[in-house]
Each structure stands twice: as C-alpha cells, then as structure tokens.
C-alpha cells in the first residue's frame, strides 16, 4: 500500500482499517504499519482504506 501527495491526513483510513494498521502520526503524516495484511502475509490487500479515502490518496502496489 502507498499513500501519495493527495493525502490530507484526515484519519478516515485509520478508522476503517480493520487491522489498526494505519496511524495518523503527531508529525501530521499517515503511516501504514506492518499490520497491514499485505505486509504480513503477502495476501491480497483488503483495500478498505483505498475505498474510504475522500481524495484517492491510497493505492495498492
């Protein structure tokens, strides 16, 4: 998963993520951590964050 420059750091993705894999850091940056399914098991991404993002800032690699 990748977050691009469209991100507004609104935290919508962090809420809908079933794995708590997305965190809005105090630096104002959104970070996808290793709990993301794709990272751990190399499974197909769930993609919920991609669908929820209001500006299309998250992409599956």
């Amino acid at each position: 998963m990748e977050i691009d420059y469209h991100c507004f750091y609104c935290g919508t993705c962090a809420n809908v993520c079933p794995k708590m894999a997305i965190e809005l850091l105090d630096s104002g940056v959104v970070e996808i951590n290793m709990d993301c399914e794709q990272h751990i098991h190399n499974e197909k991404r769930c993609g919920i964050c991609i669908k929820a993002c209001p500006v299309g800032a998250i992409h599956g690699l």
Binding site: F8, Y9, C10, G11, T12, A14, N15, V16, C17, P18, M20, E23, L24, L25, D26, G28, I48, K51, A52, C53, P54, V55, G56
Partner: protein, 388 residues
C-alpha cells in the same frame, strides 16, 4: 497518580470534559497531538444556537462567522423547500477559533494542556486502564491516572487499545470534501443550502454553509461510490456558476461515521467521548453539540467515580447510559430516518419535496403531526412519520 484524569484529544468533546472536570476540582491533563488546538479543521462548521446556549458557551465574533436563519433544501430536480426561520437557529463557526477557545477555557479552569503530545498506548494493570503513554517530540513518558478519556476523533486509538471497537464499517463512513469558497454568490448569505440526490452526492448530500456575504463552506459527503468525494465536489461546483467563480481559501477533508452510536463506550478506567464514540448524527453528520454535551456528562460521572474511588467499567457505565438517554436515542432516530431516505429514489425525493414546499416548518406543532402525515402519499408515510 500523576493526574485524576487524562483526556486524549482537545476537540470540543475533550475540552468540555477537561474543563468541567477541572471546574469540579479534579486534576486533569489534556493532550493534543496537533501543534495547535483547532487545526486542521475537519468540519462543515455548522452548529445550533440552542446547543451552545445550553452548554453555557457565549457566542463571540471571533468564532462565530455567521448567524443562520434556517435552510433551503433542494431535491434532485431542483425543487426548493423553504425551511427558513424567523429567529437565528444556528451558527456557522470558525472552528479553528472555536476549538481553541474551548481549549483555553479548559486551561483557565485549571486543566493542564499539552499540545504536540501524542498518546502512544495505554498503561493497564489487571485489565484496568491506569494511565497513558505519551510522546512529546523526543520525550516518551508515562502518566498515571484514574481515568483516561478517549476524545481522539475518528482516527482515535484509545478505544481500540482498551478493547472497545469504534471502527466504522466502510459502507457507513461518508467521505467528505469541502472547499471554503470566496467571492461567490448565494441566494441568501444567512441561510444554509442542502442538495440531495444521487447525481450530486450518493449516500450523502451537498451543503453550502455561509460564512459571510460572499464566503461559504461548500462541501459534500458520499458513500459507496467509485469516484472520490473530491471528484464529486469539483463537478458540483463546476455546474453552479455562482460557485464556480469563487476562489478556494481552504480545503477540508475527512470521514464522518454514520453508522450510529457505539453500543459500548466505557471500560475499566476508560471512556470515549465525541467522534471516537460515534456521537455523530447519522443523518446530518453533525456532532459538535453532541460531543460537548457528552463531555459534560462524562465529567459528571468521572467526578462521582473520583468521589467514590471506583473506576470500574460497571461504575462508568452510568455515563454510557446517560448519554444514550440524552443523545443516543436521538441519534438512533436519525439513523432510522437515514435508512428510510436511503431507500428513496431521486423521483421519490422530488415528490416529497413538492409536498413539503408549502409547509412552514418553524410553525409546525407536534399536535398537528398526524394531520401532516396524512397529507403525504401513503408510500411516504413512514418517512414523514420518522421526521416528526
């Protein structure tokens, strides 16, 4: 204990909790991960006159952008329903100033406020929350307390750390984008405008909230779409000449959970307030008053817990029951209305709008409700009944 209570998040819910507790004599730490309370704004900025009055917040020009006298509702075919009021019934706020004002009130009441301070985890002992792990720049430290209040917004983690799931289902999260447009024309600069229908905002609506004679927040929320909210908003603005000529002074982006309130909002030594407890109206997406009111309720119950020395889930459950009674039942009613509206087609909305055109909403008496329902075609009776 370092503090009686740590409040995580300095939005309206967190600040009201911290302020009320501090006024009652509790030692309170309120932390905010952002460097400045109120920034960035993630809100349409509309709220009600009655709510602020009830909460004892005196309106001040520094955070009131515009008094509002009701609204116009537009159905998909452009049918306008006039829902204006004689007296102001709402405000369009400057949230960046409003939130900071509330944070300052909390600090003046005696709460310790620390910005750019992030909660990174909870301290638990035997299944009870006993404090919070904090980070301020490079300093990481623990703060012990009797109760942690999670007022950390939709991205909040306090609830989930404590085992309270406040994750929203994807289909129940609206994606929202708003432009603050300057140099636009509005029909009336003190009346809200709402646009319904699948063309402009499937699963949500478009709003125009005036902030001055030629300035307004123009935004929308959508659900279950392939295109992003940003695409929908740009399209809506392009199709409205009076808006398209405006300059964009700010862009606000965010998600609003419209799933209805949480069934569980407390744990041992912890409770949730505001968006993190989904104190958001599922129909309107509004939540400022709810968060603030629930913050005062939380403070009241925590005050009792401090006096009793009992911070168990069972004791704090009184807060959950209180807010469900005072706020939650209204939110569930809105959820039911939202679910009924979801089933309506654009044609249905047009028909309903035409029936509503002649009504003067500010003058409807509850005693007349049944007669109003009978004026509508039978297929819309459920919808109208739910509104009344």
């Amino acid at each position: 204990m370092d503090y009686d209570v740590v409040v995580v998040g300095a939005g309206p819910g967190g600040s009201m909790t911290a302020r009320t507790l501090a006024q009652e004599g509790a030692s309170v730490l309120m932390v905010e991960k952002r460097p400045e309370i109120g920034m960035p704004v993630r809100c349409g900025e509309g709220t009600g006159v009655a709510g602020l009055k009830e909460l004892g917040i005196t309106p001040h020009p520094k955070f009131i952008a515009q008094e509002i006298y009701g609204d116009y509702l537009y159905s998909p075919d452009g049918t306008k329903v006039d829902m204006r009021t004689e007296e102001p019934n709402g405000y369009c706020l400057e949230r960046r100033m409003f939130d900071k004002h509330l944070g300052i009130l909390a600090a003046k009441a005696g709460a310790v406020v620390r910005t750019r301070t992030t909660a990174t985890g909870l301290i638990t002992e035997n299944g009870t929350v006993k404090g919070v792990k904090l980070r301020h720049f490079d300093d990481e430290y623990d703060v012990k307390c009797n109760v942690v209040v999670g007022a950390d917004g939709i991205e909040g983690r306090v609830g989930r750390w404590a085992g309270i799931s406040n994750r929203t289902k994807l289909g129940e999260m609206t994606s929202n984008v708003q432009f603050e447009l300057v140099g636009i024309e509005m029909e009336e600069p003190n009346v809200l405008e709402f646009y319904l229908g699948g063309k402009y905002a499937p699963g949500g609506y478009v709003w125009i909230f005036p902030k001055g004679p030629d300035v307004a927040n123009v935004g929308l929320g959508i659900r279950k779409t392939k295109e992003t909210a940003l695409v929908y908003l740009k399209r809506f603005i392009a199709e409205h000449e009076n808006l398209a000529r405006g300059s964009v002074a700010s862009i606000v982006v965010g998600g609003v959970p419209v799933q209805g309130p949480l069934e569980e909002s407390v744990g041992n030594g912890v409770l949730l307030v505001g968006d993190s407890a989904r104190h958001v109206d599922p129909l309107t997406g509004g939540g400022i008053y709810n968060a603030m009111h629930c913050g005062t309720l939380a403070a009241g119950v925590i005050g009792e817990a401090l006096a009793a020395g009992n911070f168990s889930k069972e004791f704090l459950q009184k807060y959950h029951e209180l807010w469900w009674k005072e706020v939650g039942e209204g939110l569930m009613r809105s959820l039911r209305v939202k679910e009924i509206i979801e089933k309506l087609s654009d044609d249905d909305l047009n028909k309903i709008a035409k029936f509503m055109q002649g009504m003067k909403f500010g003058e409807i008496d509850i005693k007349e409700a049944s007669s109003i329902v009978t004026q509508f075609p039978p297929e819309f009776a459920e919808f109208v009944q739910s509104l009344l």
